[in-house]
Structure formats: C-alpha cells, structure tokens
Amino acid sequence: MSIIVENKRPESINPLKVSQPLGAALAFLGIDKAIPLFHGSQGCTSFALVLAVRHFKETIPLQTTAMNEVSTILGGHNHLEEAILNLTARVDPRFIGIASTALVETRGEDYVGALKEIRAKNPDLAHRQITFVSTPDYNGALEDGWANAVTAIIDDVVIPWSTAVTSFQQINILPGVHQTAADIEALRDIVESFGLYPVILPDISSSLDGHVPENWMTTTMGGTRLEEVAHMARSAHTIAIGEHMRKPADLLESLTGIPTSLFPDITGISASDRLMALLSRISGKSIPQRYRRQRSQLLDAMLDGHFYFGGKKVAIAADPDLLVTLARFFHNMGATISVAVSSTSHSPLLKDIPTEKVIIGDLTDFEDAVRDNPVDMLITHSHGRQASERLGIPLLRVGFPIFDRIGNAHNLTLGYQGTQNLIFRIANLFLEKTHHPKPADFEDSSADISKEPLYA
C-alpha cells in the first residue's frame, strides 16, 4: 500500500502532464477518415500538432476554430460552423471530433445547442458524424482526454442492443492511450487467431503506425470504421485496457448488455495468460501453438533477464495507468520502485503500487526525489532527458511524448512477445552501464589486497 502525496506547489516546473485535448485528439485520430478539431485559439492546435508530429514522425490532421478575443466574448458558434463547413469542403471527412480547450470552457458555451443549430442550418452535414467532447486542459490529463473522447463516440454512434441485433464471433476492444500502434496490431493478431473478429475503438494501429500510403491523405489514413462502431452491440464480449477506460466501458455495457473484462494492462506473463484464457473460453478454441511457443520464449527471457532487474532501483514518472503498469512490471522482475510520480490522482490503483509513496506532481518533484534517493534508471517520456543529463542516470523513454527517438509507435509491450521485448530492452540498457571492478571498490574490506602476491 502506498500513500498518495499531492505536490502543493502553485507552479509546475517541467510538467509531466500532457493536456486533455491532446488525449482526445489522439483518440479521434484512431477513427477512419477523421479530422480532430480543437475549439479554441489557433495556438492550442499548433502546439498539440507539433508535439504529435514529433512523436509519430507523421503528418497529423488536426485543425482549429481559430477563436480570437472578439469571438470569445461574443460566442464561438460562427467559428465552429465555419470550421466544420471549411473542413467538409476541403478535406471531406467522415468524422469530425471536436475537443474544447480551456479558453472556450472558461467562457462557457452551449456546444450541444450549437451543434444542433449548425446541423439544422446545413442539412448536407447529415451523413457526417460530428462528435463533441468537453476537455478543458485545466482538468485532468492525457488519459482523461482519451477516455472522454471514446465515451463521447460510444454515446453518439453505438446503436443500443435490441432483439433485432444478431450476435457474431466479434469482440469489442477499448484500448487505453498507453497502448502503442504495435500493441494494437499484436492484439488484433491474437484475437483473430482465435477466429474472432475484433472491433477496436479507437484503432491507431492503421492510422498512426507510420506507413507510406498510395496517395496523399488529408484525413487519417486508417482507423476504426464508424459503421463497425455502430454495430458494437453484435459482439460477444468487450475487452477494455486501463482503469481510465472504465467509464467508456461501462457506457458500452449499459448500451449493449455485453459483458466487459477490464484489464489494467496486458503486459507481463500473468496478464497475457488471462487474455489467452479469456479468448479461448469465448471462442471455444484452444490457445494456438504460436502463442504457446511465445510464452515459453517469454519464460526464457524472464530467466535470462531477471539478473539485471534484481536489486536495481528505478524511478518512474507517468500517467496513472502507465505508471501502474510499469511499476508492477519492474517490481515483478525484482526491481525496487524508489520513486513514483503520477500526473494526476485519477486512478484507484495508485495506492496499490508497490512503493512507499506516490507523488502527484511534475518532473521537478521527480528529479528532486531522485536526488534524495539515487536510482539506476529513470523511466518517463522525453522531457525527462534534462534530468537524465543532470543526474547522469540512463532514461527509458515511455508514453507520450517521445520526440527524440524514432519508431515510437512500434514499441511493443503487449502480450508474451511485448513483455519479452520490454525485458530485453531494459536489461540491455542496464547492461550499458556495466561496472568494471577496480581495487578502490573494495577499499573498505578487511583483506589487504595492496600487498604483493606471494607468487608472481
């Protein structure tokens, strides 16, 4: 049991948190032919866009309603309408996901009313899905934004269960923001190998995976098709990943009556085993040979790798679900969690992290804590690089944003293979700091080794 300690500083120095609207944008980017739209001043979009581009090394379709000081006072309905119509004309999206920013939320607007009016005025918007989600950045962080966006999409698009619905060998999957494109792709493969058809919401594995398309795309180049989201009630089961997905999962269950399994994550042998067992029960098929082999490989990796984790001290700073996942992983491999910092307190699992205390704070709390409590590895996103340099401790980059490395969408941590990858990656990082023994290391020991050996 850990105690949760809130940082009482009025200022955030080197923020750990990433804003809610950006979380919502990432979720919207997992929808096919989508364009996320921020309702706010153009800077909100520009900053988020640049950060996302640096992380994914991709063009990111993201637009703005370009509010100014006049429209903020008078109300942003016109800007909203103009933005929607311009996007429709220029880019022909199937889905427009609108996320609000602190500016318009502070001013306070009736978005639902506004959208209704806009639709009434423009009947040819009828076949385009426009979903609005409230995500002011003065509340919450990345996970909240993502989850709120998914909840909004489910609310708008999913057709509730009725006796007219036929069930298929279909599974709903609600991944959290802490799964990468590679994780989603691996999960799809696993589900399909049991003869089940996955409907993944949102699915960034084909839109943010980084690939070279045939033509230039102005909206997302892949992602969940809304037609499939509409028919989520046909599924036999729903798998949600991450505590922050509880809200959207609960909504989906209440609309469809489909039982839900919520996994905090699917990293580690136990979680991966549970996934396999669940899919096997749902499909009635036995677990494929391929995954049995992979499990055996994972065991081997755990055996080879645990030497490098045992006795090591680590410091982790991340969003709640990612923090819980990583803490459990490192702990189960034998490392000690000396420092744990979370961006928000929005997870009931924080108190279960195997560490003394969890600080709700920023990267300066992180750095200060590590100074008092030296560790062998820092684990956080790219903004931890300054601390890593100052402290001389290697940094394992996780989460979002990672802007000074490439291939981030393909960091696999899900399932047997993902866990194995993670073990090798980390063990090798520890190995880079191999210590070569010198006499000075043993200065304190009682044996006097400075004497000449008896036999030369």
Binding site: P10, S19, Q42, M67, A102, P136, Y138, W216
Partner: protein, 484 residues
C-alpha cells in the same frame, strides 16, 4: 482585450520602417500584418507562441507561463536554441491553472507565489511572465502582480502581455520586442562598451549558428554585445543600448525593435542575413561600414574586405567538388522569409537548379530579391496545399525538397530526399562554413543508396522482376532437359 494592449497592438500596425506597411492605406494597416485566420484551414502558432519564441532563448532568465497546462505543457523544450552557459531557460514553468483557480479567481495569488518560489529556487537575474488566453479573459492583472513581485523580491519581473487569441505568431514576435523596449533595454549600463560593439536582432542561435559567425567577427575585432536573443544573458540585453550598430536578421519580424532602438539611442540598423556566401559577405561589409560611420577605426573596412576575399575563396574551393556532383539537380524550397532567397544564390552557383520557392511568408523585399535571382515569377509559389506539393514531387518535378520539419512527410511519402532547413533543425547552416555544410547535406541526401530500394516496386506491383526467380520457373529450360 484591455485598452492598453489594444492601443499597443494598433501602434504596432503602424510601422514607418516597413516598406509593406507604408504602402498600405490607413484602414488596411489597422488590420495587421497577416491575413485573417480561417477556421478549419489554419495551421499557425498564436501570439503567445510568437512572444515565447523571441524571449525564451534568454538563457539565464526564468520564464513563467501564467495559464492552464497546455500552453506551456505542449510547447516547452522544443527548440534547438543553444546556450554556451546557463540552462535556466530550458525549464518549463507554468502556473498550471486549475478549474478552481478560474472559478474562484485565485490565479493572481497563485502567480505571485509561483514567481516568489521561482526566484528562491533559481535565483535568476530576471523573470518573464507570459499571459495566455484564459487569464486575459478572466481579467487577471498580471502587470500588477509583476510590479508587486518585483518590488518585494528585488529583481525585474517582466510581464509579457501577448495572449494567444489576439493574433498570430508574428504579432507575438513584435509584442515581445516591445516588451524588451518597455522593460529591459536601457535599464542597465554595460561594464564596458567598445566602438566595435554590435547587436544581432532576430538571431536565436539555433543549433549553434551564432557560433559559426562569431569567429568571423572576432577576427575583425567586432564584438557581438548580445543577440536578441540567441545565447543571450539578461544583463547584456538590458545594456544593449550602448552598442554601435544593430543587425536585423529574420526578415523584419522585429523591425519595430530595431527602429525604436535607432530612435531612442541613435543606433543605426540594417537588414541582413548570414545564409549564403554573398549575403554573409554583404552583411560583414555593412557592419563594418556602419561601425566606421559611428567612429570605429577606418582600417576595419580593409580588414573586412581581406577577410571576405579569403573566406570566399576558401569556401568556393571547398564547394568545387560538389559542383560536378550536384550540377543540374533540382531543388524545391518550401520555407519562409529570408531563407527563401538567401540560400538560392549560393545553391545556384553550385549548379543546383531551384525549381520553386515558396513566398507565402516573404516580405516584398524578399520577393524582389527572388525575382532578381531566379529571373521570373514562374518559380515563386504563394500558397500551395500539401497535396499539390506531393503530386508535383511524385511526378518528378524535383530531386530534393528543402523545408521545415512539419512538411518533411510530404517529400518523404513521395519518396523524395529531404533536408531540414527550419528552426527545429539540428544542423547549423550559417556563414561560409554553413553553406558548405548545407551543400554537403544535400549531396549526402541525394547520393544515399537507400532511395533506390525505397523506390523499387513491391513484388505485387508492376515493374517488379527478379531474373533468379524467373529462371527457376523457365519452362523452356525444363523441356530442353527432357528432350536431350
């Protein structure tokens, strides 16, 4: 917008030193520099972004953003503005306003405490406080808080009143310039002041570019008192009013700053650039000329000419081997302002053909220069949507594209080599050495064998063939064996 800010913005839109501005009618001038923003079709940064770009590189100052998380949270530590010493400027500090602060109006108190804590923890010579949309909307009196903090804490606490929603990045640049004029420049006397001291305005030392230029100036005995604001120290900016000459780079974004420094302290300024060989030489000459006019020793001119002759010769010699390799290679330039023409001439003289350059962010003077260099209007491109660029590149209209990080994917997805020449780049391209580095990078990108493999068809596409595999299934071969 509060009245004082409104008045300030209006005054900025009336700039006698800017040719484009002078040519406008009174009504048009009031509308400002850029075109009005189109909802759903805009991609630029805001006024807050612009102000931060100008001031953040002040290395030993503390920069606090007053607002909710995203403004600072999404943008900090993203530019490669390098420092030869202090790294305080790389910290991202924000009051991270919560919903409670906004509802209860406790933002000002929070800001004061943040300033006080930062002063204690970092002990900086000054603190800059940036206003963002939300506090501007709810009427937080940031100026008053700063004044109070300055008094109580005994150090300059400077409000930067440029909330995002009042305009574009460019407006923010200008407001930052005004902030320096109103609060910083002239507040401190320099320890020493020489007759060859200059300031460089609009230089942010990206990837160390200032350090490519400084040695040249040092050889001439010219001292860069400070840049605004690359690798700068607060005190040096505060004492910049005693320098003799101002050089303004980066296409007049800070022209208000340069002009007012001339008005107040008689410091002449000129617009120049260190991108490209001719431009570097021209700028050195101009600096020398103006310094001598202001009382520096006359032999500076001869010294400068000797240096220019030497450096140009050395540079052309080094570029010669690349002339053969790059002869006739076609470059598409998609960048703004000064770079749209300054590298053109150097590249052209290396035999590279410029098939197009974007002038969407260029001033009239920029465009004139381009016309002179490239002959006709045909190659100047105003605004071109990404899909258009992609199609042109795919139809083999250029061999390589030079642009900023955000547009790299257009070239890469079209399977065309790309070199980064914008502010987020990691290479220094200033001065004589810089153009050599750029040409080397272009050569390296073009000659990388990876492009052959990237462009070859996939096995399921037309045009793919493999003689080894074909021969395994060659029927004639089978028959001939059976027959014999």
């Amino acid at each position: 917008m509060d009245n004082r800010l409104k008045a300030k913005v209006v005054s900025l839109f009336d700039e006698p030193a800017c040719a484009k501005n002078v040519a406008k009618g009174k009504k048009e001038r009031r509308k400002g520099c850029g075109k009005p923003l189109t909802p759903g079709a805009t991609a630029g940064g805001c006024a807050f972004d612009g102000s931060k770009i100008v001031l953040q590189p002040i290395t030993d100052a503390i920069h606090i953003v007053h607002g909710p998380l995203a403004c600072e949270g999404n943008g900090w530590d993203s530019r490669q503005s390098a420092s030869s010493g202090p790294t305080l400027y790389r910290n991202g500090i924000t009051t991270d306003l919560t919903q409670m602060d906004i509802i209860m109006g406790t933002g000002e108190k929070r800001l004061y405490k943040a300033i006080r804590n930062a002063a204690e923890r970092f002990n900086p010579p000054a603190i800059f406080v940036y206003v963002t949309c939300v506090p501007a909307l709810i009427g937080d009196d940031v100026e008053a808080v700063c004044k109070h903090a300055a008094q109580k804490l005994g150090l300059p606490v400077i409000p930067v009143n440029s909330p995002g929603f009042i305009g574009t990045k460019n407006l923010g640049n200008k407001l930052a310039g005004e902030t320096l004029l109103d609060h910083v420049i002239g507040t401190v006397e320099p320890d020493d002041s020489g007759d060859t001291d200059i300031n460089i305005i609009g230089e942010y030392n990206l990837s160390g570019e200032l350090w490519q230029i400084k040695p040249l100036l040092k050889q001439l005995g010219i001292r860069v008192h400070t840049c605004m604001t690359g690798d700068s120290r607060y005190r040096d900016i505060a004492s910049a009013h005693r320098s003799r000459v101002n050089m303004m780079v980066c296409s007049a974004a800070l022209i208000n700053l340069a002009r007012k420094m001339e008005e107040r302290w008689g410091i002449p300024f000129f617009e120049g650039s260190f991108y490209g060989i001719e431009e570097t030489s021209r700028s050195l000459r101009k600096i020398a000329e103006l310094l001598v006019k202001r009382g520096a020793s006359a032999d500076l001119i001869a010294k400068t000419e000797a240096l220019i002759a030497r450096e140009e010769k050395r540079c052309w010699e080094k570029l010669e081997p690349y002339r053969q390799r790059l002869q006739g290679k076609r470059v598409f330039l998609y960048t703004g302002g000064v770079k749209s023409w300054s590298i053109v001439s150097a590249l052209q003289q290396t035999g590279i053909e410029i098939v197009g350059t974007s002038v969407r962010k260029s001033t009239e003077t920029d465009k004139e220069k381009i016309k002179k260099l490239m002959g006709s209007d045909a190659h100047m491109i105003e605004k071109i949507p990404p899909r258009e660029i992609y199609n042109r590149l795919k139809s083999d209209e250029a061999d390589i594209m030079l642009s900023g990080g955000r547009t790299q994917f257009i070239a890469l997805k079209a399977k065309i080599p790309w070199v980064d020449i914008n502010q987020e780049r990691h290479k220094a391209y200033a001065g004589y050495d810089g153009i050599l580095a750029l040409v080397q990078d272009i050569d390296c990108a073009l000659s990388n064998p990876v492009w052959q493999e990237i462009r070859q068809p996939a096995p399921w596409e037309e045009g793919w063939s493999s003689p080894e595999i074909d021969s395994l299934f060659d029927d004639d071969h089978l028959f001939s064996e059976r027959a014999s």
